[in-house]
């Protein structure tokens, strides 16, 4: 306007209009337009993706120290801790923190320049303090530690995962003494201990890391896995804020999340019974040279509570990856010697061995139960009324099930002849069972198999229960299934789980109730409140109480009668009933058999039911029916004696009073009266009253010494020694070797030495095949006269094959 060189108005106006338009354009674009994408971006970051960024922020700004939750303890029936956790510590190196702990600012000289060498030295010194300390305290590999401490991009290097309290205290002192908290941290974690090592390992399981658990170990297998959620509890956390150098900040950001401790689990398992069972399995394997291991189970037949469950080979849950079975170790050592430990064969063998020792065969592997199954056949036949205790059968050694087909043999070539139902079971006669099966309607048989729980899992509270191999319903009931129905009556042709077998058997003897077997009795929280208690779960009643009672009676005869196939399980004072089994493995062509025994006691009110199975005792030579040790290979000779002793021990441990029959009562321990100083005749009379026999040593009429001393308990009917005149008993006598002797011979041999015999097992003084298998005091030991030596007798030659 004031411009002296005024332009023509038009040009000016045109230019000004352009200026106006362009400025408006800029105003719209820069004043409003450009903010729109920015707001969109803010919306994306602050609203849409807000959670993500907040999580990232929390992750880097806070230091979350986890507070380990105590894993619950696993107790046995009697409150013995079988798996418990203790606090251990993780030692974590923070190389980034170590690096940051030496500040460059402290080494800036007056010239405002970094004194490089001094700074480097300070950093080196700090690192060296840490390295030297850790190496000295725990022997960490020095070179490796140097490598790790120089990873300045890392803030988390775990040096030790499980430092025990003692070591952790050392580390703690080292850290505080040298002010190293920026570089070294201890965080609590927990470690699982199994005080009884391998006892009950398959039931308990073990702890290991898996793909999803990260650093933490979680339960693998067994109760630890099945009840992982219950036992583990929830980790607690302490969240504190930290700055970009990882240093904790004093601020109000601290947050505490209490750890939720896991619940305690109390099992029905009894550690002592478990130990007895495992011991029994191990002894049997050793004694009878069993090749494929053994498995067994003990339950309370009234409730279904599992008292013990074992399988060999087993492992130590404290260190589950170590092969501890001697046999497997030997196999591996052989391969290592031949091919080397780096060979593929060794790796494969190790893997196989590892898998084998973790396998709980009792739970997972179906087997052919063999004659142990017969009581089930008998029970359903009695229940259906197709047979009675008075029924008679005739066994000619084989039976033609289908006209024109091959006859199915009984194990006794000559046949058992005429026999009633009890005798048929005692003889373990296959022909009689096939006769019974013939009388049963296929539909009824199938229904009973179903009702006995053979066609479905038992529902035991343990993961990994296997599956039975059974005929289809259609085939079983069809004409083509006739032979299969016949052999099923004596437990061949199908495979069922040991758990199914034992719970079906329990139903047969407990009054007909099929129960769900279980392992966890109760779960309690940390304050002791019971949050779960297992009530007996009855699936159904299969047979009547009276039928059950009849079968119990038959099964007592199997053990109690000297001619019974299970007589080796007999223990005086215990009313044991049971059934033997020698099952062929029809899906193998090895000819190997499984020797098993299912026994229970007391017969009138069963408290314990035991199943023992030994897989493939080694034959002395191919085709032979004998072990190298001279035992006839059958359930009755191998499993029954082991089971008898085991049941006796369990009953003793459970404090169940012994019941003696009048015959047995003669052998019951009696107190030795005092006869010293008495006339010999008077003394003899007193002893006779107590049921003792006596012999005299020396000449005279007055008893001067007696063996045993007054007040000692010795078996009734023992031959006590009276010393007359100057004669006196020797101070110490040597225990003779009784193994392989008959009861009579053993008794005489002991009494010669002034010792007394307490006979257990099959005490048949007339059968020459009954021999001593164990003695309570080893031969050659020096003991006082009058000591009672316990000897166990077993008939080794009951020559029944497929019992």
């Amino acid at each position: 306007m004031q411009d002296p060189n005024r332009k023509p108005r038009r040009a000016d106006g045109k230019n000004n209009r352009s200026l106006f338009r362009r400025t408006i354009f800029l105003m719209v674009v820069l004043g409003i337009g450009m903010f729109l994408p920015l707001i969109a971006q803010l919306y994306k970051l602050q609203i849409v993706e807000q959670k993500d960024w907040e999580t990232r922020a929390a992750n880097q700004q806070t230091k979350s120290v986890s507070v380990a939750a105590n894993r619950g303890t696993i107790y046995d029936r009697e409150g013995r801790a079988m798996a418990l956790s203790a606090t251990v510590y993780k030692l974590i190196l923070n190389p980034m923190g170590v690096y940051g702990a030496v500040s460059k600012d402290d080494y800036i000289g007056e010239d405002k320049k970094l004194d490089e060498p001094a700074y480097e030295k300070a950093l080196y010194d700090l690192r060296k303090t840490i390295v030297d300390g850790i190496v000295e305290l725990f022997g960490y590999d020095e070179e490796r530690l140097w490598t790790r401490i120089e990873r300045i991009n890392s803030g988390y290097e775990v040096l030790y995962y499980e430092l025990e309290e003692e070591d952790a205290e050392k580390a703690r002192q080292f850290i505080s003494k040298n002010k190293l908290s920026a570089g070294l941290q201890l965080t609590p974690s927990s470690k699982r201990y199994y005080p009884f090592s391998s006892i009950g390992c398959h039931v308990l399981g073990f702890m290991s890391q898996n793909e999803t658990s990260g650093d933490n170990k979680v339960g693998a297998q067994g109760i630890e896995a099945m009840y992982e959620d219950v036992l583990s509890g929830e980790l607690g956390r302490v969240v504190t804020s930290k700055n970009g150098w990882g240093m904790e900040m004093i601020s109000g950001y601290d947050m505490y999340f209490d750890a939720q401790n896991g619940y305690d689990v109390t099992l029905t398992l009894d550690e002592r019974i478990q130990a007895m069972l495992e011991q029994t399995l191990a002894e049997g394997i050793e004694t009878y040279d069993v090749q494929n291991g053994a498995f067994g189970m003990a339950i309370n037949p009234q409730t279904g509570a599992v008292l013990a469950m074992a399988s060999t080979p087993n492992f130590d849950p404290n260190n589950y990856s170590e092969i501890i079975d001697a046999g497997l170790q030997q196999e591996l050592a052989d391969i290592a010697a031949e091919k080397g430990e780096d060979s593929e064969e060794y790796g494969a063998a190790w893997d196989a061995a590892f898998a084998r020792q973790l396998r709980n065969r009792t739970l997972s592997d179906a087997y052919e139960p063999g004659s142990v199954f017969k009581p089930i056949t008998v029970a359903m036949a009695l229940e259906e009324g197709v047979v009675s205790l008075d029924s008679t059968f005739f066994c000619g050694g084989s039976k033609v099930v289908i006209k024109g087909a091959q006859p199915t043999k009984c194990h006794k070539a000559g046949g058992h002849g005429s026999e009633n139902l009890t005798q048929a079971v005692m003889n373990s006669c296959n022909v009689a069972m096939m006769d019974i099966a013939e009388r049963l309607d296929p539909d009824v048989m199938w229904k009973y198999y179903q009702d006995f729980g053979l066609l479905s899992a038992t529902g035991i509270d343990l993961g990994g229960e296997g599956k039975q191999f059974f005929w289809t319903e259609e085939h079983f009931k069809s004409l083509n299934g006739t032979l299969d129905r016949a052999v099923s009556s004596f437990g061949q042709g199908m495979k069922i789980l040991p758990t199914q077998m034992i719970s079906a058997f329990a139903a047969v003897i407990n009054g007909g109730h099929l129960l769900e077997p279980y392992l966890v009795q109760s779960i309690t929280d940390q304050d002791g409140n019971t949050v779960f208690y297992h009530e007996t779960q009855e699936v159904r009643q299969v047979i009547s109480e009276s039928t059950s009672e009849k079968v119990r009676g038959i099964l007592e005869q199997v053990v109690g009668t000297p001619k019974g196939s299970g007589h080796n399980a007999y223990m005086s004072g215990y009313r044991i009933g049971g059934k033997t089994g020698t099952s062929e493995k029809l899906d193998e062509d090895t000819g190997d058999v499984m020797c098993s025994f299912m026994g229970f006691a007391p017969v009138d009110n069963p408290q314990v039911l035991v199943l023992l199975v030994y897989d493939s005792p080694k034959r002395s030579s191919p085709g032979s029916n004998w072990t190298a040790g001279g035992t006839y290979i059958s359930g009755g000779n191998i499993a029954a004696p082991m089971a008898g002793a085991l049941i006796g021990n369990i009953l003793d441990y459970m404090g169940i009073e012994k019941q003696y029959s009048s015959d047995e009562l003669a052998g019951v321990d009696t107190m030795m009266p005092r006869v010293v100083g008495q006339e010999l005749t008077v003394a003899k009379g007193a002893l006779q009253n107590q049921g003792f026999e006596c012999r005299t040593v020396g000449m005279g009429s007055i008893v001067t010494h007696q063996v045993p001393a007054a007040g000692a308990y010795i078996p009734g009917g023992s031959n006590v020694i009276l010393y007359l005149g100057d004669e006196a008993p020797a101070d110490q006598v040597e225990v003779p070797d009784l193994l392989g002797l008959s009861p009579t011979a053993a008794k005489v041999k002991l009494e010669e030495q002034g010792l007394f015999m307490k006979a257990t097992g099959v005490v048949d003084y007339t059968d020459s095949s009954v021999v001593c298998t164990t003695q309570s005091v080893n031969a050659g030991m020096m003991v006082s006269p009058g000591t009672v030596v316990e000897a166990r007798f077993v008939a080794s030659v009951i020559d029944y094959g497929n019992q």
Binding site: M1, Q2, D3, N5, K7, A11, D12, N15, N16, S18, L19, F20, R22, T23, I24, L26, M27, L30, G31, I32, M34, F35, P37, L38, I39, Q41, L42, Y43, L45, Q46, I47, E49, Q50, D52, W53, E54, R56, A57, A58, Q60, Q61, K104, D105, I108, K112, L114, N153, S241, N243, G244, W245, M249
Partner: protein
């Protein structure tokens, strides 16, 4: 200074005593105040930990704030003084401003120049105990000179100059003149000189801003649009070439697209910035409660201060501040539209465009909407001289606002 009575003044002088634009002033003061508060909050941790090796804070958490506050006071005073100068005086000053700018840019390469953070980048000079970036001065110099010079464009174009049609040069010049290239030559030369000096420092963001400022003045002054289209095409082509052909730029783009691929390296700053912004959410963690400023976010009181704003004040706070910027920019252009003459318009357009683009680039980088470049946020980022110069520029705008003829009262 004795004030002359109004009647003794020329019309020119009377106009120069008009009222300054209060809305604009209020927005400037508001942003400066908020900026100061944010510097206090953002720099607190870094001052306390004495993080910057070039600065010795002595562990005083208020160190940066105090200095920034001092410069803000100086800047506000400067703004008022400058707003009182009759902006017509800037016309002749502009030549000197440009000259001084170029001299200062050259001085960077003399012993007066300073580097920062141990790098080889020389962007600072130390003059009379004040440390500053000559590029800040150069922005003003370029804008002033371009505005002053281009405001006379109309008169220069006046009657088209006659070119001799006989000589070849004459004919070429005539063609060039007709397509409007010839008039661009002096500006191009100046721009190339300044950019070359900045390139040598190197100072990428300075180059961008000066180019944008110069372009905005040229654009407003009526330079033919096809030059902008052509120039824009050229820039896009050059950028495409750089991005695809040079490793440095390619990497920058890939980091921009996915910062997590180099979490500990170049991606660190964008990630930390986004963490700060994202964790702020809608309402923020509260003023002073930023966690990211505790040694996580680099440049938290400089280039990344807006991330702290977003973290502490949330999306709501961030939008309020962006709205203030928006209002300031719109008001700035409004003043430009109403300025008394072309010079005033072009001067404001240059200054406001510079401020707007700077704001956009800074917030864009902080939110990872655009690849990383080191551009500070006007009024917010720590940097005393930059703030003072920024306020001085606002003083120029206010000076122009005085001479706006008040609309006739109805």
């Amino acid at each position: 200074m004795a004030r002359k009575a109004k009647r003794d003044l020329t019309i020119e002088q009377q106009l120069a005593r008009g009222p300054i634009d209060l809305p604009f002033l209020a927005l400037v003061m508001l942003l400066t105040a908020i900026g100061l508060i944010m510097v206090l909050s953002a720099s607190y941790a870094s001052a306390m930990y004495d993080l910057d090796p070039d600065v010795f804070t002595g562990g005083d958490p208020l160190y940066y704030f105090k200095r920034q506050f001092g410069f803000a006071v100086i800047g506000v005073v400067a703004m008022f003084i400058i707003s009182r100068i009759d902006y017509q005086q800037f016309r002749w000053m502009s030549v000197f401003a440009l000259g001084i700018s170029i001299v200062l840019l050259i001085l960077v390469f003399t012993p007066l120049g300073r580097t920062a953070g141990g790098s080889t980048v020389r962007r600072w000079i130390n003059l009379f105990g004040i440390r500053f970036q000559p590029s800040e001065v150069a922005k003003v110099g370029v804008i002033l000179y371009f505005a002053a010079s281009l405001s006379k464009r109309n008169s220069q174009l006046g009657p088209p100059r006659k070119w001799s049609k006989r000589t070849l040069t004459g004919r070429v010049c005539a063609v060039l003149d007709r397509i409007g290239l010839l008039e661009l030559v002096p500006y191009a030369v100046i721009l190339v000189v300044v950019l070359a000096l900045l390139y040598k420092e190197p100072h990428m963001s300075g180059m961008i801003l000066i180019t944008v400022a110069a372009a905005s003045v040229l654009f407003a002054s009526g330079i033919k649009l096809y030059w902008f289209i052509g120039g824009g095409t050229l820039v896009v082509a050059a950028l495409t070439f750089l991005i695809t052909q040079t490793k440095y730029m390619t990497q920058r783009i890939t980091i921009w697209l996915d910062p997590f691929q180099d979490y500990r390296g170049d991606g660190f700053q964008p990630i930390q910035s986004m963490i700060a912004i994202g964790s702020g959410g809608l309402l923020g963690v509260g003023l002073g409660n930023s966690r990211q400023k505790y040694l996580f976010l680099p440049e938290e009181h400089n280039d990344c201060i807006f991330a702290i704003v977003c973290e502490e004040l949330g999306m709501v706070g961030a939008i309020v501040i962006m709205a203030l910027f928006s209002l300031l920019i719109i008001r700035g252009y409004w003043l430009a539209l109403h300025a008394r003459d072309r010079f005033g318009t072009l001067l404001i357009v240059g200054i406001i465009s510079l401020l707007a683009v700077q704001t956009f680039l800074n917030i864009g980088v902080a939110t990872n909407a655009i690849p990383t470049t080191g551009i500070s946020l006007p009024f917010f980022s720590y940097g005393g001289t930059a703030l003072a110069i920024q306020l001085a520029e606002m003083g120029m705008v206010l000076s122009v606002s005085r001479q706006i003829v008040a609309p006739k009262a109805e």
